[in-house]
Symmetry: C2
Subunit: 250 residues, 2 copies
């Protein structure tokens, strides 16, 4: 561990709480102010901090650059893996991670159920848009224009008795999903399985993926499934945090 780097980073963290003067910083990290000054100068040269007026330091603009640039090549799958694994281990049910790309919803990660009864799915598989919870979440998050274009060209084959089979009903469902922040697949895809899904957001608030829990009906009735929603949303929140999302108060 490098002492000076450690101190410099501590300074940055302190400044995250608001602007500080040199003396305040020196006292907070318990280092001589001349030392703090040198560290700040180095940080300033890299635009990690900037001076405000003559006696105030604050965080610099490099942090925005860095945060955003790292987001771009950040692999969502890897970032959210721990959160999803935990959900899978805690509930024992199948957990899916899906993302939307070019008019399709694709499963990009999967954690198998620990129960005997499993469902078939695999990474890379395309999810039907009209009867899966993840697709509902992802489509509901699209821009109105893109969403309308997509829905206009969709087909609605009835896979079970509960499948949504009309664009109108689907649009209404999407609106409901967007409103409440999670989606339900109530045996709309397969007779013996139902799911709930929630969105994962990045630093900008854009929905970058959806996480779902799939449960065989024989194991858990609808009430039991809905009881999982808070746990699911907690996972989605954790996963979003790993992608840079910070919930904005008020």
């Amino acid at each position: 561990m490098s002492q000076s780097v450690d101190r410099a980073l501590t300074l940055v963290e302190l400044l995250a709480e608001g602007p500080r003067t040199l003396d305040q910083l020196a006292e907070a990290v318990d280092v001589h102010k001349s030392t703090v000054l040198r560290l700040l100068r180095t940080l300033e040269a890299h635009r990690f901090v900037q001076r405000e007026g003559t006696r105030q330091y604050r965080l610099g603009t490099a942090l925005f650059d860095l945060a955003h640039r790292s987001l771009e090549d950040r692999d969502v799958r890897r970032a959210v893996e721990p959160a999803l694994r935990e959900l899978n281990e805690e509930t024992g049910h199948t957990v899916h991670l899906a993302s939307y790309e070019d008019g399709e919803v694709v499963y990009i990660d999967k954690f198998d159920s620990k129960h005997q009864v499993r469902m078939y799915s695999r990474i890379g598989k395309r999810a039907p848009l009209h009867c899966t919870a993840v697709a509902k979440v992802l489509v509901a998050a699209l821009s109105p224009a893109e969403r309308d274009g997509l829905v206009a060209h969709m087909e609605f084959p009835a896979l079970t008795a509960n499948t949504i089979t009309s664009p109108e009903a689907y649009r209404a469902e999407l609106a409901a999903v967007a409103e409440r922040g999670w989606a339900l697949d109530d045996r709309e895809h397969e007779d013996f399985i139902h799911c709930v899904a929630a969105p994962i957001r990045d630093a900008r608030g854009d929905v970058v993926a959806a996480v779902s829990v799939s449960v065989p009906v024989v194991l858990t009735g609808k009430d039991g499934l809905l009881a999982l929603v808070p746990r699911l949303r907690a996972t989605a929140a954790l996963a979003s945090a790993a992608c840079g999302w910070i919930e904005r108060k008020k």
Copy 2:
């Protein structure tokens, strides 16, 4: 300048371009890999970088925290001042910065016209919602619910012959503003002045303020005013960048 801090920050900047291995980093900054390892460990302890698998380093999540936290207490006015000042000096016209809070639009900064003909306004003054360009921009950016609530309780006194005097016309105007990304006040507030305004966004893309240019009609006709729009939008983009906004490609 502190050598180790300097090197550590350089490492962070390198990692912003994508994940790297220890050797790559050592070579890039031209220091021994054992040294780089120690720096990375320190950075890792502060969550500035994180390991991906066993032989990949990438930026850590602390950067998101920091970037967002610094945004919150960041003073928009101070951040965008240089951009607005430049617009004012270049065009010579009055430039306003306004923000929305609790149902009101307030001028929070102002750069006076250099021409003889000035307009009256002051920092802290409330802008009429129905007939100013800044208000149109800010109200158009509200959530549908908040916007509807606001418009429902608005009054539409006719201040000039051009003032919008009905909720319906105002709603249509807001939609047009949202669509094209800037707003016009075509002598709707005062007979002898017209304005254009554009939104300023933060890192999350939320509209945090609006910048406007106000021009006396005697100086510049409507064509001349509209010719200022590209310049205005450039300023808004610059100001947004200072608030952390990064335009997303595609």
